[in-house]
C-alpha cells in the first residue's frame, strides 16, 4: 500500500513539475482566458447593447465562471491526453514496466492533471475585479474543491479515452468531435435557460453542464441562468468522476 501511494505521488509529482517548468504554458493559460473574456466577452456584451438588449455587464459576469470552467475542463482533458503523448514518445512503457499497479498509475495521472487544472482555474480568479465580480475568501475556499472536482470528472473521462487511443491524430479528432460539442453545450459561453427544448435536453445529458453550473453558482451565486440546484450539480459531477475513473482503471488493468 505504501508503495502504491508512493507511486501515485511520483506520477502526480511529474505532472506538477512539468507544469511549473513550462513557462509558455503558464503564460498561455492566463492569456487565453483573458482573450476570451475581454475580447470575445466584451465584444458580445456590447453587441447585446446594440440590439437593444441591455445586460452587457450581466453577460460578462455570466461569462466569467464559464471561462474558468473552460480553462479547468480543457486543461484537465489535455493533461489526461498526455498519456497518448507519453505512449507515442515511449515514456509510457517506462511507467508500465515498473512495479506500480495500473490503478495507481491512473489515479496518479488523474490527480496530477486535476491539480494543474485547478491551479490554472484559480489563477483566473485574479480577473474577477475587472469584470466587477466580488470574490471573497469563502468562495475561494469553496472553489478549490469545486474546480478540483470538475477537473477530476473531465480528467477521468480523458484517461478512459486515452486507454484506447494509440495516436495523437485520434486525439485531435476526439477533441474536435467530442470535447468541443460538449463544451458548447455546457452553458459556459451562452446561457441555456432560454434555449430550445432539444438544446436543453442535450445540455441535460451533457456531463460538463453540471460542472459549469456548479462553478457558476459558487462564483456568482443564485442567478437566472442556473440549471440545477448546487447539490445536484455536485452529486452528478461526483458520480461521473466515480464511473469514469472506474472505467479508466478497468481499461488499463485489462491491457496489463
Amino acid at each position: 500500500m505504501r508503495k502504491e501511494l508512493l507511486g501515485v505521488y511520483t506520477i502526480w509529482l511529474r505532472d506538477i513539475k512539468k507544469f511549473f517548468r513550462d513557462r509558455p504554458r503558464i503564460i498561455g493559460s492566463i492569456a487565453q482566458p483573458a482573450l476570451f473574456l475581454f475580447v470575445l466577452g466584451s465584444g458580445l456584451a456590447s453587441s447585446f447593447q446594440l440590439f437593444g438588449g441591455g445586460g452587457g455587464q450581466q453577460f460578462l459576469a455570466f461569462m466569467f465562471p464559464g471561462i474558468i470552467s473552460m480553462t479547468v475542463l480543457f486543461t484537465a482533458f489535455f493533461s489526461a491526453m498526455s498519456i497518448v503523448w507519453d505512449r507515442e514518445f515511449g515514456f509510457l512503457k517506462e511507467v508500465l514496466v515498473s512495479p506500480i499497479s495500473r490503478t495507481s498509475i491512473v489515479v496518479g495521472k488523474n490527480l496530477g492533471g486535476s491539480t494543474v487544472a485547478m491551479i490554472q482555474g484559480l489563477i483566473i480568479l485574479a480577473f474577477a475585479p475587472i469584470v466587477k465580480i466580488n470574490i471573497n475568501i469563502i468562495s475561494i475556499l469553496k472553489l478549490v474543491p469545486a474546480t478540483f472536482l470538475a477537473a477530476m470528472a473531465v480528467s477521468s473521462f480523458g484517461i478512459a479515452l486515452a486507454a484506447k487511443l494509440k495516436s495523437m491524430q485520434a486525439f485531435q479528432v476526439l477533441t474536435n468531435f467530442i470535447l468541443m460539442p460538449m463544451f458548447f453545450l455546457s452553458g459556459a459561453l451562452f446561457p441555456l435557460t432560454n434555449a430550445p427544448q432539444w438544446l436543453k435536453f442535450l445540455a441535460r445529458i451533457n456531463p460538463l453542464s453540471y460542472s459549469v453550473d456548479m462553478l457558476r453558482t459558487i462564483i456568482i451565486g443564485k442567478n437566472i441562468t442556473q440549471l440545477h440546484p448546487l447539490n445536484i450539480d455536485i452529486l452528478v459531477t461526483l458520480g461521473i468522476t466515480a464511473v469514469m475513473s472506474a472505467i479508466g482503471i478497468i481499461l488499463f488493468n485489462l491491457q496489463d
Binding site: 505521488y9 511529474r14 496489463d256
Partner: protein, 341 residues
C-alpha cells in the same frame, strides 16, 4: 550446412543457477508468428545475447519475459516467478532498456532517475547516493541537472542504462543498446556493460544485430524468424563454423568453380560482387596447392578466420545485415529523430 544440433548447448542445467527459463514459447500476432516455439535458459551472472536480423522476434521475446506481452503458449519464468502469475514480482526484479527511447526529455537527468527510483521504491535516504553512483558509471554526473532534451543520442542511451540500474535489478535487459550510435559511443557503452558485469551481481540479457558486439556475451542465441538457430558460446560457435573463409575474384569465376569442384571437391557458387567464397580447414596449406595448378587468372585472393557473421550465414542462409535491413533501420532512426524534435 553443418548440423544445427551441434550448435545447441544449454550447458549443464543442474550445476548452474537458472535465472530465466523459457520453455516452448510461442507468440502469435494475428497472422504473424513472431516467436515460434523457442526454449532456452539464462544463468545467473552471465551476459546472454540474442543475435538476429530485423523482425527475428528479439524484442517480442524480451517483452514477454518482462511481462509486457502475454505469451500465446509456453512457460516463461524469471527468478522462479511465472510471467502470467507474478507480474509485479518480476517487474520488481528487472531493469529494462527499451529499443526505442523512453526518457521524459522535459525533465532533467536527475529527475528522470528520481522518478524511476521512487517508482521502484528505492529507500529515500539512498536515492541521492544511487543517482550519483549510476551517473558516475556512465560519465554523466556533470550533466545531472540538464534537461534530457539537450542530450545527444549517445548520452540519452547511457542515461537509460543508468536508469535501468538504479534499483539494483537482478536482470538487466538491453534491447539493442547501441542502435543508431556512432562507433565510438558504441564502444563506450560496451565498456560500461562489461564493467557492470565485473562489478555487480547482475545478469545481462541483450539483443543486437551487430556481430562484433555479440562477442562480448558469455553465450549467444542466434535467432531468426522466431526460432533459435544456435545457442552456444561465441568461441564454440566460431569453432564449429571452424575453418577459414576464402574469397577469390578471378577473370573467369565459373571455370574457377569447376576447378575447385574437380580438384578439391569444394562446392561453391558466385557470391555478390562476382566473388567466389568458400571455407577450408586451413588456408595456409590450401592456398599454395590451389595456386599451383589454377587454370584461371586470379585478380584477388583473401583468406580470413570465420566470424559470427559466417556462422549466421551458414545457419540461416542470409547475411544478418542485408541492405534491406539496414535501410529499414535507418528509417527507424530518422523517424525517431523526427519524433524527438
Amino acid at each position: 550446412m553443418i548440423d544445427n544440433i551441434n550448435y545447441i548447448n544449454n550447458g549443464d542445467n543442474n550445476k548452474i543457477d537458472k535465472i530465466i527459463e523459457v520453455n516452448n514459447l510461442v507468440k502469435k500476432f494475428k497472422n504473424i508468428t513472431a516467436v515460434n516455439d523457442i526454449s532456452f535458459n539464462v544463468f545467473k551472472n552471465e551476459i546472454f545475447g540474442f543475435l538476429g536480423p530485423n523482425g527475428a522476434g528479439k524484442t517480442t521475446t524480451i517483452n514477454i519475459i518482462c511481462t509486457l506481452l502475454p505469451p500465446t503458449s509456453g512457460t516463461v519464468r524469471l527468478n522462479n516467478y511465472d510471467v502470467n502469475k507474478d507480474k509485479y514480482k518480476i517487474r520488481n526484479s528487472i531493469g529494462l532498456v527499451f529499443q526505442d527511447p523512453t526518457l521524459d526529455d522535459r525533465l532533467t537527468a536527475m529527475e528522470n532517475l528520481n522518478f524511476h527510483a521512487l517508482l521502484y521504491d528505492v529507500p529515500f535516504k539512498e536515492i541521492k547516493k544511487r543517482i550519483d553512483e549510476v551517473l558516475e558509471m556512465v560519465d554523466l554526473l556533470k550533466r545531472k541537472k540538464d534537461l534530457v532534451r539537450n542530450f545527444s543520442g549517445g548520452m540519452k542511451r547511457r542515461l537509460e542504462i543508468a536508469r535501468g540500474l538504479i534499483h539494483y535489478p537482478k536482470v538487466l535487459f538491453l534491447d539493442e543498446p547501441t542502435i543508431g550510435l556512432d562507433p565510438q559511443t558504441r564502444n563506450r557503452i560496451w565498456e560500461y556493460i562489461i564493467k557492470l558485469k565485473r562489478e555487480k551481481d547482475i545478469t545481462i540479457f541483450l539483443t543486437t544485430h551487430y556481430m562484433e558486439e555479440s562477442e562480448i556475451c558469455d553465450r549467444i542465441a542466434i535467432i531468426d524468424e522466431g526460432k533459435i538457430a544456435a545457442l552456444n558460446t561465441p568461441e564454440n560457435l566460431k569453432k564449429i563454423a571452424g575453418s577459414d573463409i576464402i574469397t577469390i575474384i578471378s577473370e573467369d569465376n565459373s571455370r574457377l568453380i569447376n576447378y575447385l569442384k574437380e580438384n578439391f571437391s569444394i562446392a561453391t557458387e558466385i557470391h555478390k560482387e562476382n566473388e567466389v567464397r568458400f571455407e577450408v580447414k586451413d588456408s595456409s596449406k590450401f592456398i599454395p596447392s590451389f595456386i599451383r595448378h589454377c587454370p584461371v587468372k586470379i585478380l584477388s585472393i583473401n583468406a580470413r578466420k570465420s566470424t559470427l557473421n559466417d556462422v549466421f550465414l551458414n545457419l540461416t542462409g542470409k547475411e544478418i545485415r542485408d541492405e534491406n535491413a539496414s535501410s529499414k533501420e535507418m528509417m527507424r532512426i530518422h523517424a525517431r529523430a523526427r519524433m524527438r524534435r
